[in-house]
Symmetry: C2
Subunit: 497 residues, 2 copies
């Protein structure tokens, strides 16, 4: 997935020897704006592992110092970044060797803090940057989350996004003390969870319910506040929403499901979809499917903004970029990479000897391991030999997607290629080391994108939804399936469809 | 409960004609330091209702502007206030007239935001002020709350207190969608909830588990992180704590139970107890009982810090104080007071005509209403006649406790009387209008207490627990019952006692 970019080098476009021809490569179409989110997590190693050993990395200060967060927010706002996107989890990575030891030693998603906590500190020192926080539909009651997200949306003046996850790790369910829920049932529950939240956020208070009428001692108008009665299969709520409508009411909704149930869920709910892939050609069919499903749900397929995960290594010159890459390679942790892959795939890679080459012809090689090898080959990653140690090392470097290494021009070319070939709208950009990787994005990449007319206007402001859909669109679009829950449209007796 | 303080006026000390002689009034004992918390809530009217109609009141901005919170925090820090104490609830007040209409119209605990949300914004602009937030053991999983509170304690550098509540409002249970839990069972559940949290906070990580050893790629030492296996009656957790120990590990524990089960709970868990009473003499026996129960649990009874709820109206001169009181009377809302009393007591006071005097000899007058009248009489509150309207108006003015009106000297005298007679350690000071009431506390009352040698040293710093117990005491005291959960003391097989 790592690709050293060379001027003039054509992008590879074969996978397993089959030439991939993207169906649509617009040639003279108007330039689509590229949305950038900074992708971080309240933990040490998020997408690149072992880098905390680099003295320049400040990931460790996240735990103990608010200034990590406030400085990061100010930096991102300076670059007119769309949002700081914060992942989250309640589990630990414990498939490799059947233990969490590697994850703990290597600081992979461990230890981990609550991403909602530092938001207001960052909001207080910024005016425009959005904040997308991850919260699971499996571990908290909808009424509790509704109150927290509305409070956040009020105090940030509408700059909150919610990354809806259903949680898959067995270790998370054991920690919270809930029996693990099978995959498709998790999405069924999440679907009802969202319905409850739409009712609270969209249906409970009229726009003019909060009157603050001093003369008649009428702070909130009882007749314009509807008590929600939701008696569903998984949730029960009998109450009005506890807080008056925040600037966006429903926070901007992100989602990341890659499964069929996940994509159906995205089509019904998501406004931003976060995807991971190693190349734009591999991603293109998935993007097409998401947009088709959205269209089938009556939505403008372009209104689903799709963000690909990407970890660029940027230098002012190609040499500088390569030096940074060599530095990253030095700290990349092979076992951390294997542990991470094992945690995500459920396959314990410790069954293979670290230094014995894996051959595609080996019996019993899992298709997913083979696919990793194919992907590395496809993206032109240079690797001395296909041993688990080497594979793990590469995975530990921006494992979740593409890692372009080059100058701002070269990386911008790459982003444009993804936009054109995969039809994505933007990127969740991860860090190798923080905040340096984010500084490079703001100081080097953003000016280049701006120069190309591909980026946000200087000092652009508004709610998170307005920055994505345009001024005036702070609330859910009318073609969003949840618009039927808006106060004026809401019919209690037909709402549980 | 309101008392206009007059110089030289002896404090009344009769209740229902019975002279109350406090058992211990220290005469030459060393002066006990008075701890002050500012008592607020993420809502419009917290303890005084109707005051949002006063144009000087800024309670309404809490919802929509972080500057309310950051300015308040800076003010309180200037006054070396111990902590900002934030109440919370998921319910609405709906007993009066069988409806939430009065509460909504009057802005009584409605609308309401999540008190945890603005904390880091305030922490970022202060260095010493503590933050005590309310969270219920009935609505969230312990693992989820443990993560959030640890994150807060890290990012505030140990300035977090947790006000443990079990929640009593039927409307809150209906909102969250949980069958209402009977009172004593709620405390049984809360007891186990605390045990789970002690295990996560105290037993899971050794002090030296987070090694950040770059040479050996060992961020967190697996051998010094214990997986908690709690399989109790109400909760199940199989996981280590997700975050390394924060400065205090267990946040400073506040609690407010007034019932017998509540006081037992306080003796086992609380470090700060929050109490409400209308006079120190009425409170004294309760304080004595709490301390006795703590002693029986093997704790230094003085280590339980007891905070009485009190809403002072302070003026530079007696005239100014009285003007503020008259202004407060003007906005005090009779029905809001009745609705609030009804919500707390479960008795719908709308059954009485608003303007017909209630006579103690009336048939069917509930003992609790009679006790309110007795209390008003006892504290010398002047009231034209005992109609529900007049009673409601007085309740709506700092309804939860005493409301001394006077100069800084007079109010300080009052606080000293409470300290001496009731043996409390400090106060949760509410507002009539905010931030003005808090400004008066910081600018007028604090200097007077300082002058008397009763107050915190200038610029005192440290974790919340250190500021209460002294430098070096960031962790639970060794006589706290939960000290058995500390890493070195913890024995898994005997911990479920």
């Amino acid at each position: 997935m790592t690709e050293i970019l060379e001027p003039g080098k054509a992008s590879q476009s074969t996978l397993n020897g089959t030439r991939i021809v993207p169906e649509q490569v617009p040639t003279a179409a108007p330039k689509k704006r590229i949305l950038l989110n900074a992708f971080d997590m309240f933990t040490v190693g998020h997408m690149s592992h072992g880098q905390w050993r680099n003295p320049k990395d400040k990931a460790s200060t996240k735990r103990r110092d608010l200034t990590y967060w406030t400085n990061l927010a100010k930096l991102l706002e300076k670059g007119d970044i769309n949002a700081l996107f914060l992942a989250d989890s309640y589990g630990r990575i414990d498939v490799y060797k059947g233990s969490a030891e590697t994850a703990m030693r290597s600081g992979i998603h461990w230890p981990m803090g609550d991403p909602a906590v530092p938001i207001t500190a960052m909001a207080a020192v910024t005016e425009r940057l959005g904040f997308a926080i991850t919260s699971s539909t499996s571990f908290e009651k909808p009424y509790v989350l509704a109150k927290r997200l509305s409070t956040l949306d009020h105090l940030t003046k509408g700059r909150i996004g919610w990354n809806v996850v259903t949680s898959f790790q067995a270790s998370a369910f054991k920690a919270v003390g809930i029996d693990q829920i099978p995959h498709d049932l998790r999405y069924e529950i999440a679907d009802e969870y969202l319905q409850v939240l739409y009712k609270l956020w969209e249906s409970s208070w009229a726009d003019d319910a909060l009157v603050e009428d001093r003369e008649n001692e009428n702070y909130a108008d009882f007749d314009k506040i509807r008590t929600i009665h939701h008696h569903g299969k998984h949730f029960k709520v009998d109450a009005p929403h506890i807080l008056d409508p925040s600037p966006q009411r429903t926070p901007f909704l992100f989602q990341a499901g890659a499964s069929s149930a996940g994509m159906d869920f995205a089509a019904r709910h998501a406004e931003g979809v976060f995807v991971s892939a190693y190349s734009p050609a591999m991603l293109a069919p998935r993007v097409k499917e998401i947009r088709a499903k959205a269209a089938a749900a009556g939505r403008d397929p372009k209104s689903i903004k799709i963000f690909a995960s990407l970890t660029p290594i940027i230098g002012a010159t190609a040499e500088e970029a390569n030096e940074k890459y060599q530095d990253a390679l030095k700290y990349a942790s092979p076992e951390a990479g294997l542990a991470f892959f094992s945690g995500n795939s459920g396959i314990d890679l410790s069954q293979y000897d670290l230094d014995t080459e894996i051959k595609p012809t080996d019996d019993g090689i899992d298709a997913r391991i083979q696919s990793i090898i194919d992907t590395f080959k496809y993206t032109g990653t240079e690797i001395p030999s296909w041993t688990p140690r080497n594979i793990g090392k590469m995975i530990s470097l921006g494992h979740n997607g593409h890692v372009p290494v080059g100058t701002p021009e070269q990386v911008a070319d790459k982003l444009e290629e993804w936009i054109d070939v995969a039809d994505v709208d933007g990127f969740n950009l991860g860090y190798i080391i923080t905040p340096e990787s984010f500084e490079d994005i703001v100081n080097l990449l953003v000016p280049e994108l701006r120069k190309r007319g591909r980026y946000a206007p200087l000092g652009e402001s508004g709610t998170m939804r307005e920055r994505v859909y345009g001024a005036g669109q702070s609330k859910l679009r009318n073609d969003h399936p949840a618009s039927k829950f808006k106060w004026a449209n809401y019919k209690e007796d037909v709402d549980d469809s």
